[in-house]
Amino acid sequence: MAKPPTSSESPPRRVIPIKVEPASSLKAEERAAVLAACARLKELPGGLLPILHAVQEALGWVPPDAVPLIARELNLSIAEVHGVVSFYHYFRSTPGGRHVLHLCRAEACQALGAAGLEAHAKAALGIDFHASTADGAIRLEPVYCLGNCALGPSLMLDEQIVGRVTPERFDEVVSQARGSR
């Protein structure tokens, strides 16, 4: 009777690597934040949006590498999660900016010179929308209505809405933000 081959005499097994642990490129603390958000919220019906909000709140953005991890935790496909992240303007897939400045582009603000303010903002910061200043202080994003339509033009710095924004007021807001963490 032939003896079953022992490990010492069999040729080395070929292992086809399967990436079982997604998102390995995230830093340990980023990974922990994503997992914590999933653990806390995944039982909610329709919990994906709350989870993405929690991830962005913790990390300042939704890293593309977090997507496979969230997909695994929610038992969704990576495509489904990516589809949701990319659908919503609010979720940011690139990092950058200690402060986020949302500048309103909608009609009520247009009626009070939003287009000129937008040109000023881009020139003053030296960036276009969806980008951050070189010092990493400000990220500029467009927004379509902040609900401050009687006191436009408006912007929102982090969670604070500022109304009646002139170019001078814009510069003040930015320099104050630069001075704070």
Partner: protein, 524 residues
């Protein structure tokens, strides 16, 4: 002597022009002078050009001062604003007299906004003291079908824009079989020029909770969601605090006021997608998916959130329900004209001198609103165009300013009242650029489901660019009109279907703006 009651709004609009600093300065100045004050952060009265509007209560009457910046506070105390009998205070340059006597406010019919700006939005006791939860008490004494009947009889139509009769929607949900039904509040107020939902949620969050609870009793629903846009963080805080207080006092939860009825409510945040204000895409978003529009049928009333029967209404619709139950359908129905019953909170915005919230019965005119309330443009130049009903609403020229504010009258002029936003533009506006923006906005916000909306909007921007550049203009205009027809009839929802409204109204009423550059070329 009891503490002096001073009110400084915590409304986001008031905060956007310095209300927090004003409140801090008031507290500091009072402490310095040894005056004991009870500082209430109320909602906004809606006189937004006067924000921060400070009120002081003297002998049960509130006196207004505004706009009061932090730097003005010491001067107010020096003038003796703590004592209204003091004539010096009444003559102060910021003095506006008794708040309720201010003409802008006095001439309004505040039903839905009855408490906004008056009460402390964080205080359930204050809400109860000002007639809160009387509608729920009335509803608890009725059978579900009777509540629905009352809402139907009031003539209340959805205030989100589509103006569908609320009672009929509720009746469908009540009659739909299902062990689980949902009440969903559409608080994704994305239309530019509108802010009534925001003001209400920040200024009187309990009335929305009460309205949704009544809807739950009426349809035997047990779970509710408020889908709130992320741009409203202040409203989120206000709602969550109010929901917590309502749970603590058994106005939410497993045994509402001892009736045995259950209703659970939570706030969910949107993520910056205009399309999620469309009800079916909102439901998709609540389910954790891309906010893509669903085919109808099935109606959400029969198969809505997670496939269950769902009432989905706008903030103002729900918030109008408590007063209907409290005062009776007839009381509410008595306001308004034609098939538009009750009141509509209109919002004056854009280039307007006295922008703010004006809740009046249907039937007034745009002119009255723009000049009577609004006082003309902020810039002092003539008002040339007004966009009513958000980014999908028509641009109206002066010749249409006498149109009555009524759903049907606006439909007749190919416009819409929508959610009641009124955005004024002065004569420096370039209407060709406004038309171009309407197409651009549609391209940015399209959910991508229908081709006319997804691709037609981008083509629309290109055609308008060629039209205003004067490249074979008459052919471009034909093409643009043809494209608009495709959008109108080939789109599933209002985004693609109504984008032609602003585009064509700009083209039809202000054709001169589209030939400017051609003229310029000819004259060069």
């Amino acid at each position: 002597m009891s503490a002096l009651k001073v009110f400084v709004p915590r409304d986001a609009a008031a905060r956007s022009v310095g209300a927090d600093a004003t409140a801090a300065a008031l507290a500091a100045e009072a402490a310095k002078r040894g005056i004991e004050i009870d500082l209430v952060r109320n909602g906004s009265r809606g006189l937004l050009w006067l924000e921060p509007l400070v009120e002081v209560e003297i002998a049960g009457r509130r006196y207004a001062y505004g706009p009061v910046q932090a730097a003005d506070v010491a001067g107010l105390f020096a003038a003796g604003f703590a004592d209204a009998a003091n004539p010096a205070a009444a003559r102060h340059s910021k003095a506006l007299g008794p708040t309720e006597e201010i003409a802008y406010l006095k001439s309004q019919q505040r039903l839905t906004f009855a408490r906004v700006g008056i009460t402390d939005p964080t205080s359930l006791d204050d809400y109860l003291a000002h007639g809160g939860y009387r509608g729920l008490a009335a509803a608890l004494a009725l059978k579900p079908a009777q509540i629905v009947e009352s809402v139907t009889a009031s003539g209340l139509r959805g205030r989100g824009g589509a103006a569908f009769p609320a009672g009929i929607k509720w009746k469908t949900v009540l009659g739909a079989p299902g062990d689980l039904k949902y009440i969903v509040c559409n608080a994704d107020e994305g239309d530019s020029g509108t802010y009534s939902d925001r003001m209400l949620m920040e200024g009187d969050p309990f009335v929305l909770i009460e309205g949704m609870t009544i809807a739950a009793l009426a349809t035997q629903a047990t779970r509710g969601y408020i889908y709130l846009r992320w741009e409203y963080p202040d409203a989120k805080r206000a709602l969550e605090a109010a929901i917590q207080a309502a749970y603590a006092a058994n106005y939410l939860g497993g045994n509402i006021q001892g009736s045995g009825a259950r209703f659970d409510l939570e706030v969910r945040m949107g993520a910056g997608a205009y399309i999620c204000g469309e009800e079916t895409s909102l439901l998709e978003s609540l389910e954790g998916k891309r906010g893509q529009v669903r085919f109808k049928p099935p109606l959400p009333a029969l198969a809505g959130l997670f496939g269950k029967p769902t009432v989905i209404n706008n903030v103002i619709t729900f918030a109008s329900v408590p007063i209907i139950l409290d005062r009776g359908a007839e009381f509410y129905q008595h306001f308004g004209m034609g098939r538009s019953r009750g009141t509509l909170p209109l919002q004056l915005a854009g280039n307007i001198k006295r922008g703010g919230l004006v809740e009046i019965a249907f039937g007034s005119t745009l002119r009255e609103l723009l000049y009577g309330y609004g006082g003309g443009s902020l810039s002092g130049r003539p008002i040339r165009a007004v966009q009513v009903g958000g980014p999908l609403g028509a641009y109206l020229p002066e010749s249409q300013f006498d149109t009555p504010l009524d759903y049907e009258a606006f439909a007749e002029i190919k416009g819409m009242l929508g959610h009641g936003g009124v955005v004024a533009f002065d004569d420096t506006v370039d209407m060709a650029q406004q038309a171009r923006y309407a197409m651009e906005f549609c391209a940015i916000e399209s959910c991508g489901k229908c081709t006319p909306c997804r691709i037609g909007s981008t083509r629309g921007v290109e055609v308008i660019d060629r039209l205003i550049a004067g490249e074979n203009a008459s052919a471009q205009e034909t093409l643009l009109r043809d494209l608009c027809e495709t959008l109108t009839y080939g789109s599933l929802c209002a985004l693609g279907g109504l984008t032609p409204y602003p585009v064509l109204s700009a083209l039809n009423h202000f054709p001169e703006d589209f030939v400017q550059s051609e003229r310029r070329k000819a004259s060069a």
